[in-house]
């Protein structure tokens, strides 16, 4: 997983002025990194859930936990100063949530079938 360190930081002055100062390209690059992390984690999480043999609601709760852990990891990577890298908290917590679900279900099914069904 690539960090955001190489993409440079978007400084946004939050005090004194309410003028947003950020670099759109860097912001986009940060979003891309988040998207990659989420996809990667949802695939890994899907395989893990399948191997552990979760079924039904347990699996989806597992997905929620994985995504929550990813969010916490990303926030930690951003040095707990999210506003200097992203527009809002929504972006780091919710973005790519549904996109990863499809991959998660596919790999969950795949691993579950291979290990448990046959």
């Amino acid at each position: 997983m690539a960090g955001h360190g190489d993409s440079g930081s978007d400084k946004k002055s939050s005090e004194a002025t309410d003028l947003p100062i950020f670099n759109a390209e860097n912001l986009q690059s940060n979003m891309k990194v988040i998207y990659y992390c989420r996809t990667f984690m949802s695939i890994i999480g899907g395989v893990t859930a399948g191997i552990l043999g979760f079924t039904g609601l347990t699996g989806f709760i597992f997905y929620l936990i994985i995504m929550g852990a990813t969010s916490v990891g990303l926030i930690a990577k951003a040095g707990f100063s999210v506003p200097s890298y992203f527009d809002s908290w929504n972006q780091i917590v919710l973005d790519g949530f549904l996109g990863g679900l499809m991959s998660f279900v596919l790999f969950w099914t795949f691993a579950y079938d291979i290990v448990h069904i046959f």
């Binding site: 004194a16 002025t17 003028l19 990659y36 996809t39 695939i43 079924t55 499809m102 046959f118």
Partner: protein, 246 residues
């Protein structure tokens, strides 16, 4: 509902795993084929010029508040005056550009190549799956679903007593088709050619008209409210520096 079905391990070894591997490999192959077929035509100078112009105008609009009011007015006049402003398009030319775009054979050809490279592998794979694996129960999804999903997940087997969570091989193909997108974006990089939804978006934007975006950019420049931000920045810098000192 029916009790658990016993599936043969041969189905796993000869249907489930090969099908998924083939789907991944075909996705990669398709990426490279479409990369090879992409013709590197020389872009039209006029279109490139207009694109750059739009980028410049957008930059001006985005950072308008960082230059003094006089400089901003001068730049805006340069872009959008009614006589020879760069963003000002005479009425007659608009139709012309669009017609030229449509009649450009290279463009249509490129479009068709892209489409073919998408459709042909999909049809072939679907025919292959249909021919070899029709009527298998290939997989079981690990969560319960309602009857409504039966036609989606058990495409190809007509048994109403089988539990809905069993997936036929043809439907496993469809699941792969949609679910592997994330994997492709990981292994092929950002602009992979397999993203079908993005393709659709591009297709709808086929009749894209550069002159219209020029006009839109001009309107955007015209309505902008200029407010020079920098005078306040001395206080801001002072407070930042003071915080550093303390």
């Amino acid at each position: 509902m029916a009790e658990d079905l016993v599936l043969d391990t041969a189905i796993r070894d000869w249907v489930l795993i090969p099908l998924s591997v083939v789907m991944v490999l075909i996705g990669i192959l398709r990426y490279f084929v479409s990369k090879l077929m992409r013709s590197s035509q020389v872009p039209d100078a006029k279109i490139v010029k207009e694109g750059q112009l739009i980028v410049r105008a957008r930059n001006l609009r985005a950072s308008a508040n960082f230059i003094p009011a006089k400089s901003f007015r001068a730049r805006r006049f340069y872009y959008s005056n009614e006589e020879n402003g760069l963003l000002f398009v005479p009425k007659g030319q608009a139709q012309n550009a669009q017609a030229q775009m449509f009649s450009d054979p290279n463009m249509a050809m490129d479009m068709m190549k892209k489409n073919l490279s998408m459709i042909i592998p999909q049809t072939l794979t679907f025919a292959w799956v249909n021919f070899f694996f029709s009527g298998f129960v290939a997989a079981k999804i690990p969560f319960p679903l309602t009857q409504r999903f039966r036609s989606m997940l058990q495409n190809g087997i007509d048994l109403s007593t089988v539990d809905v969570s069993y997936v036929s091989s043809r439907s496993w193909y469809f699941l792969n088709l949609f679910g592997l997108r994330g994997l492709f974006s990981l292994i092929l990089g950002e602009e992979n050619a397999t993203d079908d939804t993005q393709r659709m978006m591009q297709m709808s934007g086929f009749g894209f008209d550069p002159t219209r975006s020029l006009g839109a950019e001009k309107d955007g420049l015209d309505i902008i409210q200029h407010d020079w931000a920098l005078p306040k920045f001395e206080q801001h810098a002072e407070s930042v520096l003071q915080k550093l000192v303390h």
